[in-house]
Symmetry: C2
């Protein structure tokens, strides 16, 4: 269990490729490199969520195309079967859904052994309280601020209560835990998420819908830093 004494981690900005041009992902990565910390990769399988996006062959090509660490968010069934493959392809974070996993703590250990950071994601309707005891096993807790499955949805501020609960718990336990928010994060919402205790921010449309994606990332970072 990694522990720190209240040192505040740097803000992480993670543009979501879900809002990028999938025919030009290398360019999408290049357009934000230098202004971001992670690239958020939304993996969906038609089963855990009603959409199918991309999987290992695309992650493999992305890994070869960019040096930006890949933040793989697995919105898929049976992560016990598939998650390790993403670690082996060189993903920086492998985040799977609590709702889909039979044994999150064991899977987290396997991911860490494979050299990846382990992330636990909880969807809109999942209480964070059920998973607080598992947090020492994880590097990242991803809290959906929309319902998982599609980009472009509106931010749901009431879900920030989960962020507050998780941050309080992490502070009390001296856990070095990233809390990542995903869904509807943009210039008008990022400060609220940062104030609630999030320190990693997924943004899709707010980045790739902007004329200058790198500049959009810098503005998001500055808003988050000010709020934290």
């Amino acid at each position: 269990m990694a522990q720190i004494e209240a040192a505040q981690a740097d803000t992480v900005i993670a543009p979501s490729l879900l809002a990028a041009d999938f025919a030009r992902l290398a360019e999408a990565a290049e357009s934000v490199a230098g202004a971001v910390d992670w690239l958020h990769v939304d993996v969906m399988d038609n089963h855990f969520v009603p959409n199918l996006t991309l999987g290992p062959p695309v992650v493999k090509s992305l890994k070869a195309a960019t040096d930006v660490p890949l933040d793989c968010h697995l919105m898929i069934e049976d992560p016990e079967r598939w998650a390790l493959g993403y670690a082996e392809l060189g993903a920086h974070n492998v985040t799977f859904h609590a709702e889909a996993s039979a044994d999150p703590a064991t899977l987290a250990k396997r991911l860490r052994s494979a050299g990846a950071k382990a992330g636990l994601a909880i969807d809109r309707d999942t209480p964070v309280e059920d998973y607080l005891d598992l947090l020492p096993e994880f590097d990242t807790l991803l809290i959906m601020t929309i319902k998982a499955g599609f980009g472009g949805q509106a931010f749901m501020p009431e879900l920030l209560d989960k962020v507050r609960t998780a941050r309080r718990h992490a502070k009390a336990g001296h856990l070095e835990l990233r809390i990542e928010v995903d869904g509807g994060i943009a210039e008008d919402t990022i400060a609220r998420a940062a104030e609630a205790g999030a320190d990693a921010f997924v943004a899709g449309t707010a980045v790739y819908g902007a004329d200058d994606p790198a500049e959009a990332c810098r503005r998001l970072r500055s808003l988050a830093d000010a709020a934290r």
Copy 2:
């Protein structure tokens, strides 16, 4: 039911993007445009096959990136739920697996109504005889010449018996039917598949593993034409 009197259709060459660089799909399309008829898009969902590749958001970006008709091969469960979405995104062909469909004939009608060509795919272990009566409902019959799920597998010549059976049946019924072969098609195998009665050829590694993908397509076409 479309009928022709023994006019031989032109050879179709359909490079499979499964062997391309997924971070640069627009370039992969561009590199063969003018030398090919379709781009073959392998959609896999972790469930029908043990791999996850790409889905609608990627097809949407591809459609915007290239004028080459998209030949979407759905290796997914529940095509009744998902296939129509690919037609609506502008796929030229939407081919689903017989093994995954509850009612292939009805789905074919819906796809044609949506403006797409309807394709029926049968995996390595599925007898073609079970589906001959359905062929009038389809524009394309895709016969796997490997086990569906991954690129790079070796061609299985014994599966060409299915191509012969289907071509005989189509000729006898005056059906205008494309017979597409998928798996291990390369310069050393394409002639055998063409002789057996195939007229559409998916090639992955043989195209995108070549120094000059367009030239590789021209050579494949010339070998197929000579054999037919």
